[in-house]
């Protein structure tokens, strides 16, 4: 397994405000798989993603990525792990407002010795003609594509997406999902996608449902629907 999460527990707060968000989660994702994590609000899906991304530490259990145990890693080691392995995409694009599309992508290009080809990536993501525009000159979809390009430029093995289409309309969401699908195929990038959107589950290899901090259902799609054919996005 490329991602191996075993009996992970995570809680927040103390006393009256104590909440156990993850109560012993087991997840396994193969390399190159696209995996969707679904669940209701407060089910722990974002927390799980953050724990896998090393943004949040776990209370107990094990979280191995490509054989590397990230639980208990020190700050610098976690930073190296994120630098070498991860790409992150959030619901809000968090682009640097006074850098152009190309420059926003370049910020992360320097984090790796073997970045993807900038022009090829810009073309793949349909950003070539927008490369010299600032974020304020782009639509929401174009901004999200820039954020994806920024995450991909350093050629991460694992792409973590937290509600990547949450702020987008249906057509733009579809475009983004097509893009993620293309990237997965083209670069073999393992993807974990947290989403509320029920349609997305049909395009991925693996689907995980979280409920009250535990995995309530998990299955693999024997047949996947291409992203461009998804409905009700």
């Amino acid at each position: 397994m490329y991602v191996e999460v075993s009996n992970v527990k995570k809680s927040y707060g103390e006393g009256g405000s104590y909440v156990e968000v993850l109560k012993g989660v087991f997840v396994g994702v193969e390399q190159g798989e696209m995996c969707v994590i679904q669940g209701t609000s407060g089910s722990g899906k974002s927390t799980l993603l953050n724990c896998i991304g090393g943004l949040d530490d776990i209370d107990s259990g094990s979280c191995k990525i490509d054989g590397l145990e990230i639980a208990g890693l020190k700050k610098d080691a976690l930073s190296d792990y994120r630098r070498d392995t991860l790409g992150f995409i959030f619901q809000f694009y968090n682009l640097v407002p006074n850098l152009t599309v190309r420059e926003n992508i370049e910020v992360c290009r320097f984090l790796t010795k073997n970045p993807l080809d900038m022009d090829e990536l810009l073309t793949t993501l349909g950003l070539k003609e927008h490369a010299d525009k600032f974020p304020s000159q782009l639509s929401g979809g174009q901004q999200q594509r820039t954020a994806i390009a920024r995450a991909l430029i350093k050629n991460p093995k694992l792409l973590l997406c937290d509600e990547p289409t949450g702020a987008l309309d249906s057509n733009t969401s579809r475009d983004i999902l097509v893009l993620l699908e293309t990237i997965n195929k083209k670069y073999g990038t393992t993807m974990l996608i947290v989403t509320h959107n029920n349609s997305i589950k049909n395009m991925v290899h693996r689907v995980i449902y979280l409920k009250d901090g535990l995995i309530s259902k998990e299955y693999t799609n024997s047949e996947r629907i291409p992203a461009r054919e998804l409905e009700d996005l």
Binding site: G53, L55, G87, N94, L95, V96, E103, V107, C108, P135
Partner: protein, 746 residues
């Protein structure tokens, strides 16, 4: 990555150009002033040191009642101590306004004359005139000067290092070159004057000396003990020597320290901007962290613009200052006070380093300290922007007045900017108080000297008259020394009769309990009932006294005793005296007069201080007002900018312009009003504590009490400046439209 982010640095600079331009101008101005003031002080210090070297400045001097015999001189020379006769006469010129000239002959080897124009006299009817006196009386090379019935042509205008500070008496508080100057005649012309019978007073038998290797002043002093020594003054204790250098020590120290304080303040102001940016970009930073960008990378990025701006600003300030454009103005007061040649303005190497290193390094340190914790948060906490409004949340506010509660919340939220405004006001006021204390001191000196000097003439006698002249008050004066803060000053023990009409002092019949002048008490921090010691350096005796009373008397450091007690203490006869005070000029044998001090000289001398200090007082007042306004403007602007979204939102709710202003701008009035109430007296108090050290080399009292109206006026000016800034910033509030809230943040 830094390469990409660098592009952003320049875009940020462009976007916030006004902000960084103002700060840059402030730093340029700060460096310009520091380098000009400190550079001028260093130029004068090093220049006078060079002149002292060139003219072979004395190691000390002594005065005797009778000339040393040749054998004595031979013995001293055998002790490897070079000694040179530098006798002189003081001569009051016919026109009283021309004051007194001190007549020397040309020097052989010690304290040689440095001519700033013309040359030393070669003929009997030629002389060199001291530079400051020549300037005050508009005399130039080729002009003539007549005294004692002889007209001399001025062959040169010059200076000597032993009269760097051209004080008539070493106990004088201030130099007054309108009333006192030096002339140097050829040896023959001096001899002719001596024999002419035109001298008004006895010749002063002064010798100067240079110590040979391994010799010290004590060796000579021990030898001279057997002679009738009038005074013995080592170079370090002579206020005329290196007067400029001693005066400039404070300029250098204050300039350097003030610069550092200023750069820390501006560093802090910049850090407020940076923190504002970090908070605004919190989620972006978090996202970058999540991708593996490190804190070090971002720290470098965020401090790079402040470092570049402060470095360039410092460099421009330095280059501007190095042109010496303002140096003549800064040095002018010294050239108009001290008797020194004009030196070419030079910036010492350490100031070059200071100017280009201090602003960026201090800014970097302050910013790293301030923003480090901001960047120290986890990626997740940054993405969620969790700690926003932390300050405000902690405080529970009671009461139902919405506007008041809102303003307090706003102030708490903007605590960092509020601190910067109050800190800026405090530092600006500290700078202002340097000028204020200078002004108050100078004006009090002028006023007090006039009020406290009740006699018209004071004659210090070499040999007392057999009978005390009519309508005079006799007294017995004896000069001792006392040190404070590394400087030694003359202190006069004055024995007076109880009914002396010129002094409202009742010393009482006590040798121990004495009345001291207020100037003496202020300078040495003495209080009633305290004991103190003064030293007779000639006889190497210490006298201990107790302060019975402090009398308001500002014109010098005086210890008042009953004259009979003093005579007894000093072993003098019952009718001994050596000072006469009078309302009119006395007709007494000039040979018996050691010095004459007129009330006019004293009062004129006191007013010189104010004239000298006025340019500096103006510079400090203007500089402090600018610092205050810029810091207040920038900080209030940043407070508004941080609330841009909220301002737009409440405009959407339907708040009117006046109401928005009330909520977001007018609350600052209380910060300024209450802040000023605290920092105004605090800055005056602190400066009062520091000021004595700044003028530790000046022989005067420390009457720096400010009247209440001064505080009221300063407070009113602070509020007026606030209202001006407030007015300017209202326009900024108007810039936020309700549409702002609808815009995508990115």
């Amino acid at each position: 990555m830094q390469k990409v982010l660098r592009k952003r640095v320049f875009r940020n600079l462009k976007k916030h150009f006004v902000r960084y331009f103002l700060l840059g101008v402030m730093i340029t101005m700060g460096i310009f002033l520091v380098v000009t003031i400190v550079g001028s002080a260093e130029t004068l210090t090093r220049g006078t040191e060079d002149i002292a070297e060139e003219t072979n400045l004395e190691d000390g001097e002594f005065e005797v009642f009778t000339p040393l015999a040749d054998k004595d001189i031979d013995i001293i020379r055998d002790m490897k101590i070079e000694v040179e006769e530098q006798f002189f006469f003081d001569y009051q010129l016919d026109d009283e306004a021309d004051g007194t000239i001190r007549i020397f002959k040309l020097r052989d080897n010690i304290n040689k004359i440095h001519c700033v124009s013309g040359s030393e006299p070669v003929k009997k009817n030629e002389l060199v005139l001291e530079k400051r006196y020549a300037y005050e009386h508009d005399l130039k090379v080729g002009d003539s000067l007549t005294f004692a019935g002889v007209t001399y042509t001025i062959s040169g205008i010059g200076v000597t290092s032993d009269y760097d500070g051209p004080l008539k008496e070493v106990s004088d508080t201030a130099c007054n070159s309108k009333c006192f100057g030096l002339v140097f005649l050829t040896a023959d012309a001096y001899e002719d004057f001596r024999n002419s019978g035109k001298a008004q007073k006895a010749e002063t038998l002064l010798y100067t000396y240079k110590l040979g290797d391994g010799k010290n002043d004590t060796d000579l002093k021990d030898y001279l003990k057997e002679h009738e020594l009038v005074s013995f003054l080592e170079r370090e204790d002579n206020p005329r020597i290196f007067a400029t250098k001693n005066d400039k020590v404070v300029d250098i120290e204050v300039g350097i320290i003030a610069g550092i304080i200023l750069f820390i303040l501006f560093g802090y102001v910049i850090s407020v901007f940076v923190v504002h940016s970090i908070e605004r970009e919190s989620s972006i930073i978090g996202t970058l962290y999540s991708m593996g960008v490190t804190k070090k990378d971002l720290l470098r990025h965020y401090i790079s613009l402040p470092i570049v701006v402060t470095f360039i600003a410092g460099l421009i300030g330095l280059l501007l200052a190095a042109t010496g454009v303002m140096a003549p103005m800064i040095a002018e007061s010294s050239y108009l006070y001290f008797s020194i040649p004009e030196f070419e303005f030079r910036v010492p190497a350490y100031l070059w380093i200071y100017s280009v290193v201090c602003p960026p390094v201090l800014t970097a340190i302050v910013n790293i300290l301030v923003i480090n914790s901001k960047l120290n948060r986890t990626a997740l906490s940054l993405i969620r922007n969790e700690v926003k409004q932390k300050n405000g949340k902690k405080v529970k506010l009671k009461g139902k007045d919405f506007v008041r509660t809102f303003r307090i919340r706003q102030m708490l939220r903007e605590m960092r900017s509020t601190i910067a405004v109050v800190l800026g006001m405090f530092l600006a006021l500290l700078v202002f108080m340097i000028g204020v204390d200078c002004y108050i001191l100078c004006s009090n000196i002028a006023k007090d000297y006039d009020a406290d000097t009740k006699y018209e003439y004071m004659y210090t006698l070499k040999y007392p008259e057999e009978t005390i002249p009519e309508d005079t008050e006799s007294a017995y004066a004896y000069t001792c020394r006392k040190s404070t803060a590394g400087y030694s000053f003359d202190v006069v023990i004055l024995g007076i009769d109880e009914d002396n009409k010129y002094f409202d002092v009742k010393p009482g019949k006590s040798r121990m309990n004495v009345v001291i002048s207020s100037a003496f008490a202020e300078k040495f921090g003495l209080k009633k009932g305290e004991e103190f010691v003064v030293t007779d350096e000639e006889k190497e005796i210490k006298y201990a006294f107790s302060v019975k009373e402090i009398t308001p008397f500002s014109t010098g450091f005086y210890i008042f005793m009953d004259i009979d007690e003093m005579r007894d203490m000093m072993g003098k006869s019952d009718d001994y005296y050596n000072v006469l005070f009078s309302d009119k000029k006395l007709d007494i044998d000039p040979n018996s007069v050691y010095s004459i001090t007129s009330r006019e000289d004293i009062v004129k001398g006191a007013s010189v201080f104010t004239e000298l200090m006025m340019p500096m007082i103006y510079v400090l007042s203007i500089a402090s007002s600018i610092i205050f306004c810029v810091v207040m403007y920038l900080m209030m602007k940043v407070m508004i900018d941080r609330s841009a979204q909220n301002i737009s939102l409440i405009k959407v709710f339907g708040y009117r312009r006046k109401e928005v202003k009330k909520l977001y701008l007018d609350g600052n009035f209380y910060v300024i009003a209450i802040g000023a109430l605290i920092v105004l007296p605090l800055s005056k108090f602190l400066m009062n504590e520091m000021f004595p050290f700044m003028i530790s080399n000046v022989a005067c009292g420390l009457n720096i009490k400010a009247p209440v109206w001064f505080f009221a006026v300063t407070y009113a000016v602070i509020l007026a400046l606030y209202f001006v800034i407030n007015k300017i910033l209202v326009r900024r509030l108007d810039a936020f439209t309700p549409a702002e809230i609808l815009k995508n943040r990115e």
